[in-house]
């Protein structure tokens, strides 16, 4: 091959061979003979590249960017003959110190490259850092090739997703996980057979971008244990994976390990969605540390008050200036990188409403960042999911700008279904909307069921077991006098606060968990299950366990034995959902005309009772013109008394069979697909107190022919 003309140095400085670099792409890129460094700052006067040998406390070289190496506001140069695997680098920026005008340049600080693809400094999870380190988070250079073979994004239709929200470390850190590398990306790979057996087809990972688990680290007043930033909603770098989540982090191979994990998940038919946090960074407010952005271009990166203080719409000290064109481009570069280099299938945007605020914090009608992401070609097949609210009081569930691309975490689904589950009155009209994919929220914008991610629990709040075991949050172990975490949980403890020996209470709790799972999995829209809910995982009533890197948060796999019935129930419900297309409609089900795909019922067939005191609702899903497709009927009785539900007739010669009845003890609570049991009385079903019944129509078979005898009522 002919050697490139620009593959030789033109300048010398302190023994290093240099030449003017290419401004794009930003970051550090290996080029023939050397490394191209490129960093931008609108307001900096000059910049110095600072080089360290890996892990060394002091730099071995500081190389200024020559004036002729600058294009526009970009500093770029090639440094030749670097041992790129063994160095770490940062920048010193010189510029004005004028906080009132938004500038906080300080050339005594060494700054992380905002485009660093790999970051050293927290290579092993929880390993006490050297607090005297002058450069704790260090940019590293990585040869970003990977053998993906024929892997691509899976492109599972939105309505077919069953999302499993999980935290990399919590998922396998507990010794009961029984795997070789607990708490790591590699650990997820080992647990793929488990995920397959549950039947989910998408994992949504809590943040995996580099963060500092020692941020705000302190001791718990209750246990004396060290509290960590476990969840990671506080980015150090947007382009680098969390090294401490990789078993190979200490070898600097976290990029390979995460890519291998994603490739293996894809091979198993499981998509990967990343929870991304673009609303703030780990630099906090004016008291916080210099990590990168503050020292590189404070005024561009952050939303500042007229006095130069940090706006705090995130509740975390600062707010990233997402609709500044520079920051907007960085976010786009970042997401494109994760899609093209990591084959990510989608993103869930934390506190996404911030992304729609202008530079003064006011909400915009057509926020340029959200529009750019909606139309970007590289992100074209990506799922974009907004947490459609922020800590500054903006709440946009149902009104988040979408361009037919953005979906939302449906917070109203969670709130309405929780209240219905615990037996609140007046919920039936809302629940009817939620079961259909919330057309009341989304249809006016011509959006479809793919606008709604349905969930009853997520990482933020009670687990499902705690939702039915606690009336109030119990966050004392977080060391904030139980002030942190939401007070509005719509939870009910079933008769005793916390763990109970009373079999009536424990049985009711299991039933309520199954009720929640059943309702979630027969709703249109994409269901999201919180990792661990399928085995009754508890956080001891802590509804904000962001700092509990211990058994409060870690998934205890022994629960699979003690609560195997929950796993079985969830697994069968997921399988049922996947089997019946009518539960996974992309368009809203027709609910008005005579060929309605969904018909509403109640204690009396064809007469749903949506009155204030009603706590019962039933629906039947039917696809007209598809006689081979079974009807599905679900009766939900959230009243504390039994109710007999009059049944609509199944289509043609088909008969109703019982798939699930949460009032029954296992194994009669749910069937295997295809083994549903013929219902003796085809005209009515007695649903037990607080129970969900799911029926499926099948062509007439004689009693006892399929899997034993017919059943009568569910009592």
């Amino acid at each position: 091959m002919i050697r490139r003309l620009d593959a030789h140095p033109t300048h010398e400085c302190k023994g290093f061979s240099l030449r003017s670099g290419k401004p794009i792409p930003f970051g550090a890129v290996i080029v023939p003979g050397g490394v191209n460094f490129s960093v931008y700052s609108r307001y900096a006067d000059s910049c110095v590249l600072v080089l360290f040998n890996k892990h060394e406390p002091a730099p071995f070289a500081e190389i200024p960017f020559f004036p002729e190496f600058c294009i526009g506001n970009v500093f770029s140069m090639v440094v030749f003959d670097l041992d790129y695997e063994n160095i770490e680098y940062g920048y010193r920026m010189t510029g004005p110190w004028d906080p009132k005008s938004g500038h906080r340049f300080d050339s005594s600080k060494i700054l992380l490259d905002p485009y660093a693809k790999s970051i050293g400094g927290r290579d092993e999870w929880g390993k006490e850092p050297d607090w005297s380190n002058i450069f704790p988070h260090r940019s590293r250079i990585f040869f970003d090739d990977f053998d993906w073979e024929d892997d691509t994004q899976l492109q599972i239709p939105f309505e077919d997703l069953v999302i499993y929200e999980m935290h990399v470390r919590n998922f396998t850190a507990h010794p009961s996980s029984g795997i070789k590398h607990p708490g790591t990306f590699s650990g997820i790979r080992e647990k793929i057979p488990y995920l397959k057996s549950l039947g989910i087809n998408c994992v949504e990972l809590l943040p995996v971008h580099e963060f500092d688990e020692f941020e705000h680290s302190r001791l718990s007043p209750v246990t004396g244990e060290r509290l960590m930033n476990l969840w990671g909603y506080s980015n150090v770098g947007f382009f680098a994976p969390k090294a401490g989540y990789a078993a190979t982090g200490k070898y600097g191979m976290q990029v390979d390990e995460l890519k291998t994990t994603i490739k293996a998940l894809h091979k198993a038919g499981i998509e990967v969605i990343l929870d991304v946090v673009f609303n703030h960074t780990a630099e906090g407010n004016e008291q916080g540390p210099y990590i990168s952005y503050r020292g590189i271009d404070n005024k561009s990166y952050y939303m500042l008050t007229p006095e130069g203080y940090y706006y705090n719409f995130s509740g975390c000290g600062n707010t990233l200036n997402c609709n500044n064109p520079i920051v907007r481009n960085m976010i786009l570069d970042c997401l494109r990188y994760w899609v093209s280099d990591y084959h990510i299938d989608g993103f869930r945007f934390d506190l996404a409403s911030i992304l729609g605020r202008d530079q003064n914090g006011a909400p915009m009608n057509s926020p340029p960042l959200l529009e750019t992401l909606a139309f970007d070609p590289v992100l074209g097949k990506c799922k974009l999911i907004a947490e459609a609210w922020d800590a500054g009081g903006l709440y946009q569930v149902g009104s988040f700008p979408s361009w037919d691309r953005w979906a939302e975490w449906n917070g109203k689904y969670r709130d309405d279904m929780r209240r219905f589950l615990k037996g609140d009155a007046g919920m039936v009209p809302a629940v009817m909307q939620r079961l259909q994919g919330s057309p009341d929220l989304y249809q006016w914008q011509n959006r479809m069921t793919s606008a709604s991610v349905n969930f009853i629990t997520c990482h933020d709040g009670f687990t499902l077991m705690d939702l039915v075991s606690y009336n109030d949050k119990h966050n004392e172990a977080n060391g904030e006098d139980n002030r942190d975490g939401s007070n509005d949980n719509s939870s009910w403890n079933c008769g005793a606060e916390g763990p109970s020996d009373d079999p009536e209470i424990t049985q009711l709790r299991l039933k309520q968990i199954k009720n929640a799972a059943a309702m979630l999995l027969v709703s249109n829209g994409a269901p999201m299950v919180l990792s661990g809910d399928e085995m009754g995982n508890s956080q001891d009533g802590n509804n904000n366990a962001y700092c509990q890197d211990n058994s409060i948060s870690w998934l205890n796999w022994d629960l699979l034995k003690s609560h195997g019935e929950l796993f079985r129930f969830m697994k069968q419900m997921i399988a049922f959902r996947m089997k019946h297309d009518v539960l996974r409609k992309s368009s809203y089900v027709r609910n008005t005309d005579s060929n309605a795909e969904i018909s509403w019922h109640g204690v009396r067939a064809w007469e749903p009772d949506a009155s204030f005191d009603s706590r019962t609702i039933a629906f039947m899903c039917r696809r007209f013109g598809c006689p081979e497709e079974p009807d599905v009927y679900a009766a939900v009785n959230m009243h504390w008394e039994c109710h007999s539900f009059e049944l609509p007739a199944a289509e043609g010669n088909a008969k109703w069979h019982v798939f699930a009845n949460t009032d029954m003890r296992p194994p009669h609570d749910i069937s295997e697909i295809g083994n549903e049991v013929l219902l003796d009385n085809q005209h009515a079903f007695l649903a037990g107190p607080r129970s969900v019944v799911v029926l499926v129509s099948k062509l007439n078979q004689r009693k006892g022919e399929d899997n034993g005898t017919a059943v009568t009522d569910g009592t």
């Binding site: 695997e85 990789a246 390990e257 994990t261």
Partner: protein, 109 residues
């Protein structure tokens, strides 16, 4: 320590003996050496790694390169690797394209 490298082609089996450290500083030279095999009839690529003390990501990449460029159908063997080397390969998931063994018998394999 420097990388020690010996290579021979024996009836379709490329035998590569590695020792010392294989990292970004010497991986390019290693890759150049392997390029000599391109176009030759190679059915097995065997890395004898008993004396390999350290492998970094650049070194692993050269092994993957060997598979991709010398022969997608060639079998790649890693023989006698020390635990530290094995750990990196396994944890990063790059073990899937090679057969890891304690010893190699050309007649039976």
């Amino acid at each position: 320590m420097e990388l020690q490298l010996q290579m021979e082609l024996d009836e379709g089996t490329a035998k590569i003996r590695l020792g010392g450290r294989l990292d970004a500083t010497n991986a390019p030279a290693f890759q150049e050496e392997l390029k000599k095999l391109i176009g030759k009839d190679v059915s097995k690529i065997v890395f004898f790694s008993e004396d390999l003390e350290y492998i970094a990501s650049a070194g692993l990449r050269v092994m993957i390169f060997a598979k991709q460029r010398i022969g997608m159908n060639a079998q790649v063997y890693l023989i006698g690797a020390q635990q530290t080397v094995l750990d990196v390969i396994k944890m990063s998931g790059l073990d899937t394209f090679m057969t890891i063994q304690d010893s190699f018998d050309q007649k039976t394999q």
